[in-house]
């Protein structure tokens, strides 16, 4: 073992090298593999065609999420309701067939444990510090919040992992993103990650694995850290990691799939060795100060198009880079916005609180805190979609569902919902949505849909006021 100081990423990488190759790439062992219905059918088909098996079903966990409607799944008598969309239903049925054929552990759509893969993983204790973790979904970066090296892969790689439990990877460069100070009133983890992406740009992290450090990150709950790491990919970084600490261990202890007894003690002892060594070097470092981070949101069609809620729609001329100027003009045309307009004057027709970025219990508490005793503005459709059946159950135990429904929000079944226009939850063309999801791409929430990314509390504020609003004005 080398004695040179190493980063968290380098330690996890080194612990998973099966074989180093002449060209610098490595065969890397994968400890955890999450599977969902959209990016897996062709991978299972590839295995079948070649007569191959799943090497380690015990390290694999499948759960449907992308296609599932978020309307009730059973009728009054408890019978499963059919899914109207024929193709979506077929893809879900294919997952059921594939997990049965290949012996892969599976959480069915009707289980209370079902949810968005990136909510289910940490919630079940399937996600663990120091593991390598993959899923055919780019927001797998979320699991880095617990100190895993977690990243999204394509379907060919899904097949490769199913068959071999490894991937051929080249080491990434490392980037430290440090956030110093203490967050101001009304500022959440979502605002932090939006500020980070606004700073580094949508391609700023390409080729890097980010490590998020600093006082602000240390003081975030695991839920908040999941929000930050989730959006690493929106800054171009395939993975974003946060060193495991007491907060991480307290979150994981006792979760159904987390280690127990002597294994737990042994695991924690190893996890404590993972944080980056003093003197470890990063290829790039970026520092943000919490004092500069306000409740924020996006104005354009790239997650890097970030402004504080007190800000204005930018003029394309304000960008130095000519190609960014052109892109900004296109974004404004698509978004139906005029330069110089106050962000707070922009009306919304839809509000979506959910997605793998912001559908955990703390997110719902934050939104409910704003919605409580108020009502959704006329002409606004607002929905709350818990990240899993267990989050839903917990929220109901706390009475959050009643706060939302009394305020005029829809309270729905868990799934990816309105994040990606793959299931029935879509934003109609030309209409505007305040969304807690992670992507404001052209057409992401439906053809012609206009998306503003923001925090759960800010989304609730938009629902109540019928426009993009500064949540601080609605907070005690």
């Amino acid at each position: 073992m080398s004695s040179a100081p190493r980063t968290l990423y380098e330690k996890v990488w080194d612990a998973h090298v099966v074989e180093r190759r002449d060209d610098g790439s490595c065969l890397i062992y994968i400890d955890r593999h999450l599977v969902h219905e959209v990016t897996s059918p062709q991978a299972f088909e590839g295995l079948r065609a070649a007569g191959r098996r799943v090497r380690r079903p015990d390290l694999t966990l499948a759960v449907p999420d992308h296609n599932l409607p978020t309307t009730p799944r059973v009728d009054a008598a408890g019978n499963e309701l059919p899914i109207a969309d024929r193709e979506g239903a077929e893809q879900l049925a294919a997952l059921r067939r594939n997990v049965a054929e290949f012996g892969v552990p599976y959480i069915d759509a009707l289980s209370a444990k079902q949810g968005i893969v990136h909510v289910v993983g940490p919630e079940q204790g399937f996600t663990l510090p120091g593991t390598t973790m993959v899923c055919g979904d780019s927001h797998t970066s979320a699991h880095g919040a617990l100190g895993a090296l977690a990243f999204g892969i394509g379907t060919s790689e899904v097949e490769h992992v199913l068959a071999t439990q490894t991937l051929i990877l080249s080491p990434s460069k490392t980037m430290e993103v440090r956030v110093d100070g203490t967050l101001g009133f009304g500022v959440s983890a979502k605002d932090v990650v939006l500020a980070i992406i606004g700073r580094i740009g949508a391609a700023g992290g390409t080729g890097y694995v980010i490590e998020f450090t600093g006082e602000v990150i240390r003081n975030l709950s695991v839920e908040g850290r999941l929000t930050v790491a989730n959006m690493s990919i929106e800054g171009g970084a395939r993975a974003g990691m946060i060193a495991p600490d007491e907060t991480t261990f307290a979150y994981l202890k006792g979760r159904p799939l987390a280690p127990q007894g002597a294994d737990w003690d042994k695991a924690v002892a190893w996890w404590r060795t993972l944080p980056s060594d003093v003197g470890a070097r990063y290829d790039k470092s970026v520092v943000l100060n919490a004092a500069d981070i306000a409740p924020s949101l996006t104005w354009g069609t790239s997650p890097e198009d970030v402004v504080p809620i007190t800000g204005f729609v930018p003029a394309p001329d304000s960008f130095a880079d000519p190609s960014k100027r052109e892109a900004a003009q296109k974004s404004l045309d698509y978004m139906g916005l005029t330069p110089g307009m106050r962000m707070q004057d922009v009306p919304v027709q839809h509000v979506f609180i959910g997605s793998c970025t912001n559908s955990r219990i703390e997110d719902l508490r934050a939104a409910a805190g704003v919605a409580s005793g108020r009502h959704v503005a006329d002409g606004v459709r607002a929905m709350v979609v818990p990240g899993s059946g267990l989050v839903k159950r917990q929220a109901e135990a706390e009475g959050l569902d009643r706060i939302f429904t009394e305020a005029g929000f829809e309270w729905r079944e868990p799934g990816c919902s309105m994040c990606l226009a793959m299931n029935p939850d879509k934003v109609p063309p030309g209409e505007r949505c305040a969304s807690t999801s992670n992507r404001n791409f052209v057409g992401r929430q439906g053809p012609g849909a206009r998306t503003h990314l923001l925090s759960p509390a800010m989304a609730a504020a938009a629902a109540i006021t019928g426009r993009l609003a500064d949540v601080r004005e609605l907070m005690g």
């Binding site: 065969l27 390290l59 663990l128 060919s156 057409g443």
Partner: protein, 209 residues
């Protein structure tokens, strides 16, 4: 996978930046359980606009796409690579690619060629009237006007492309090394193996369906 050594022909002189995989293939096309047939959904939102580059007869069936920075950002959907392949694209030239898209492209015999912005700008000019050639033997992009832009590829990926190798098959041949790693893993980090940690759950909720 078909081996690729050279891609030559007309090229879409696009140059757009930050093209995400939702633009390459919108999510509603992802409900397929096949790899084929996605070309008709490729760039659907772009193609909805009159006068778009993909329906310009000058570039019909072009095997090369020239794009801007950060091509293929966003979702990991390999459907983006399948859609490009289905519309006949065998190489994409851009100043940078998202890491996930670039991996997906290789695995589908599509060459992601990284060139400096100036070279990309020059190729966009040339491609409006003339063909472009991407050569994996010489590792260059050339035009009929003596332009010659060298590029780099990961050696293993280059070999996979040129020989049309089955990567899963290659790794399965490493079974001994993988098994040895697993033994060591069981010893050093016994909590990784799930059946050793505790029973866990096999098929949660499936009995109700």
């Amino acid at each position: 996978m078909e081996p690729v050594t050279r891609v030559s022909g007309s090229a879409y002189p696009w140059g757009a930046k930050n093209i995400d995989t939702d633009v390459i293939i919108p999510a509603h096309w992802l409900k397929t359980i096949k790899r084929s047939g996605l070309g008709k959904g490729a760039f659907e939102t772009v193609r909805a606009q009159p006068g778009n580059i993909f329906d310009d007869p000058r570039y019909a069936g072009a095997p090369i796409l020239i794009a801007g920075d950060n091509f293929g950002c966003g979702s990991s959907r390999e459907h983006a690579a399948w859609a490009l392949g289905d519309m006949g694209i065998k190489a994409v030239i851009a100043p940078s690619f998202s890491d996930i898209f670039s991996g997906n492209a290789f695995k589908n015999g599509i060459v992601p060629v990284v060139l400096p912005q100036e070279a990309v700008d020059r190729l966009i000019e040339v491609a409006k009237t003339d063909p472009v050639t991407v050569d994996l033997e010489t590792m260059t992009v050339t035009t009929p006007y003596q332009d010659r832009f060298p590029f780099e590829l990961d050696a293993f990926r280059r070999r996979c492309l040129m020989e049309g190798l089955d990567e899963v098959g290659l790794t399965l041949a490493k079974d001994t090394a993988i098994s040895k790693f697993e033994e060591q893993l069981d010893d050093e980090r016994p909590w990784i193996r799930r059946d050793a940690a505790h029973a866990g759950f096999a098929v949660e909720g499936a009995g109700r369906t």
